[in-house]
Amino acid sequence: MGEFFTLSVLVATAASAIRLATPYLLASLGETVGQRSGVLNLGVDGVMLLSAFFSYWTVLETGNLWLAVLVGLVVGLVMGLLYGVITVFLNATQGISGIGIFIFGLGLSDLLFRQLVGTPKPVRRLPNVDIPLLSDIPHLGEALFQRNLLTYLAFLLVPVTALLLTRTTFGLNIRSVGDNPQAADSLGVSVERTRFVAILIGNSMAGLAGAALVLQLGIFQPNLTQGLGFIAVALVYFGAWRPIGVMGGALLYGFVNATVLQWKALGIIPVSGSDLANMAPAVLTILALIVVARRVHAPSALTKPFTRH
């Protein structure tokens, strides 16, 4: 156990946790915006898969990482348009539509990968960028401020999302249509438009999450996310619909996973205990959800389509 508490291992664990947390954080923040407006999107995983594929393909074809990030974002936006039209304007059941988006994204990303790429080929990964001064802080700088730009963006989006929700008129509109759309409608706030834009924001961030996932790995594989998007949705509940809470959840998830991997590498967790340790993140999440669920309430209109009576 002593080996774990060496600075270099702790730094590596923190770095690993932050890398793992980045796609979760981006996806969960986006989902938070959507859910606060009353829209549950179970299709996050599918959106991530599609944007991950297109980001990967863009780097493969052009070598341009930033174009790839942009492509990931745009694919998310397009999927958001689709989901928004279906759920907001056609008033489809959100749960089923979300699963539809997931299956669609899973299948299409798989199909396109096989048609356009075939065998996995490695591409450039997102380079780490040192933040001047901060990255020179011993150890801490290495762990926190020598990361890639999408990681910085993800953590920057935490206060940005929080500000959006709590300090802007649009955020006020989002919260009102998520809690009492009839009230918002009676004051001339367009429930449809507000939800639609919230969905676009959420899906764009899911798109960024897909890009972050694939560009951190430098390779794509069918079903690359392995259900990551669903955990991102759970983290919104975990974080009690607040960006800071969501960040806590994503980091906790990342840290537990990173620590388990470090302990396995160090032999602290023996091979025979692997299976048990693999459950740790899920168990922790469930426990935390139980605790959280007892004291917070979801947006009242979550999953409820809006119609005027």
């Binding site: 006020l172 919260r175 009102s176 918002a184 009676s186 001339g188 706030v189 367009s190």
Partner: protein
């Protein structure tokens, strides 16, 4: 304002017609509202009041007709346009976001001075100014979910005033208020009218309409029956206009010799949903052939008391409930029913009937296991249908048939279904909770007649209601609940509105005045 007291119309609605599938909600309706006037819209549920004001507020579009506001023709396509035209609306169900603060609720949908950011400090200052000017005390920084009902209504009014509404629509604003709060509201509304605003006041409570209005327009089945003024009419005439026939507002009650106590409650203490004491050590009895009315502002323990008597809520040790002399304190609902308890619950669609079931199924919901409805362990649909049809006829339930889903019936007819089921079991003790809430006058009259009939048959009835007129009209004795206690039990001949109203507000009388 210079328009005060003028005869000039702020609003003229002409020939408004709105057809929903199968229903003509508004049929060629005209309505004028003057500056500085409180104009009441009176009518039963489904008479078309709500549809008319929804059209005015842009929540739905008329099929025919025109609207003139301040002399100009307008077409209101959305609430946003209505608000921009300085029309304000206080909805029957509060249009507030519980998780937002008062200031945020007020600011919602308005332009901020600091776009894209909110300017809640500016909003809060204006809210405070409006509060002060109109006597609407409320803290702008508090979350709405922490506010009491009366305070929430003030927030609604502030919202309208913040938007500088000149024509204000109030849809059943008193439904959730105590008599005292209603008085306060009327003072505020009158003051707003005196400022030159036009107010449309929607209600089905005759007393309130007569108290507050300058003019009254009565709607029935989507049509205007007539427009009158309080000085020119009476409760009886208004009721007749609403229902279309003479209505007996205070039922005739034959004298009964109250005899044996059928329901006896002793030392009852009950905890509420939040584990706090909701009912605190109360005792009373209801005798055969007697109606005991329980009055009180909502949330003073009536619901918990009713649930305890019905067997839906546990009581603290030491208390007891006896039906016909038998202790049923620990019994379940079924055995209480077997002892002769009938129950008309407050939440009729949650506890009284199953919405998806047919009328017939709801009518045998309790007794479907009885020998007369089963044969060899299977439901005997023949006898069930026969029984159901008889009840539907006896209780004048307006339904296309006994196989109609209950959810498609009106509130009054659903209540009649429940009443039919409960009364057909000839209960010894009848527990009736808010039996006419949300029920139209015709059905309410019928339900009242039935309760009196049951009294004549010797049933001991406990009537829990927030409608003071109902309690005073039906009860032989009135128990007033305040903060979980029965502060007084007043014989009906000694009860006045003022006296009961004071008791409901917790103003306890000198002991010698109350008789137990």
């Amino acid at each position: 304002m210079d328009t005060m007291g003028s005869d000039e119309n702020i609003l003229e609605m002409r020939g408004i017609t709105k057809v929903f599938p199968g229903v003509v909600a508004n049929d060629n309706v005209d309505l004028d509202v003057r500056y500085g006037e409180v104009h009441s819209l009176l009518g039963e549920n489904g008479a078309g009041k709500s549809t008319l004001v929804k059209i005015l507020f842009g929540l739905c579009q008329p099929d025919e007709g025109s609207i003139h506001l301040r002399g100009e023709p307008i077409a209101v396509e959305s609430p946003a346009e209505a608000i921009a035209s300085r029309i304000g609306m206080i909805h029957q169900h509060f249009m507030l976001v519980p998780t937002l603060t008062v200031a945020e609720n007020v600011a919602l949908g308005t332009q901020s001075t600091r776009r894209p950011f909110t300017d809640l400090d500016v909003v809060s200052r204006r809210v405070s100014e409006i509060s002060e000017k109109h006597g609407l005390a409320v803290d702008p920084s508090v979350e709405v979910r922490r506010l009491a009902v009366g305070e929430r209504q003030r927030v609604e009014i502030i919202k309208a005033l913040y938007r500088d509404a000149e024509l204000l629509v109030l849809d059943e604003p008193t439904a959730v208020l105590t008599p005292g709060e209603v008085d306060d509201l009327f003072v505020i509304l009158r003051r707003m009218a005196n400022d030159g605003r036009g107010l449309i006041f929607i209600s089905h409570k005759l007393r309130e309409v007569l108290t507050l209005s300058d003019r009254i327009t009565v709607l029935r089945n989507g049509k205007v029956v007539g427009t009158t003024a309080p000085a020119e009419t009476s409760r009886e005439e208004l009721a007749q206009m609403m229902v279309g026939r003479a209505v007996r507002l205070t039922p005739d009650k034959p004298l009964m010799d109250a005899s044996a106590a059928q329901l006896k409650v002793e030392g009852l203490t009950i905890r509420g949903d939040r584990e706090t004491v909701a009912v605190d050590d109360i005792s009373f009895e209801v005798r055969s052939g007697e109606i005991l009315g329980v009055a009180g502002v909502s949330g003073n323990g009536q619901r918990e008391l009713a649930e305890a008597i019905a067997g839906l809520r546990a009581v603290e040790p030491g208390g007891s409930i006896r039906i016909a002399g038998v202790d049923v304190t620990g019994d379940d609902t079924r055995s209480r029913r077997d002892r002769g308890l009938g129950f008309i619950p407050e939440e009729r669609m949650r506890d009284g009937a199953i919405a998806e079931f047919t009328v017939s199924e709801n009518l045998v919901l309790v007794d479907h296991g009885a020998a007369e409805f089963t044969s060899r362990g299977m439901l005997d649909f023949g006898s069930i249908r026969e029984h159901s049809q008889k009840l539907v006829d006896d209780f004048a339930v307006k339904t296309p048939g006994i196989d109609t889903p209950t959810s498609s019936l009106s509130g009054g007819n659903i209540q009649k279904v429940i009443l039919a089921r409960e009364l057909s079991a000839s209960p010894t003790v009848l527990l009736a909770c808010q039996p006419t809430r949300g029920v139209d006058i015709g059905a309410a009259e019928y339900i009242h007649t039935r309760l009196i009939q049951q009294r004549s048959l010797g049933t001991a009835t406990i009537l829990i209601s927030e409608d003071l007129d109902e309690v005073m009209g039906l009860a032989d004795r009135i128990a007033v609940m305040y903060e979980g206690e029965i502060v007084a039990i007043v014989p009906s001949e000694e009860a006045t509105r003022d006296r009961i109203g004071l008791l409901m507000a917790g103003v306890v009388e000198a002991p010698d005045q109350s008789s137990v």
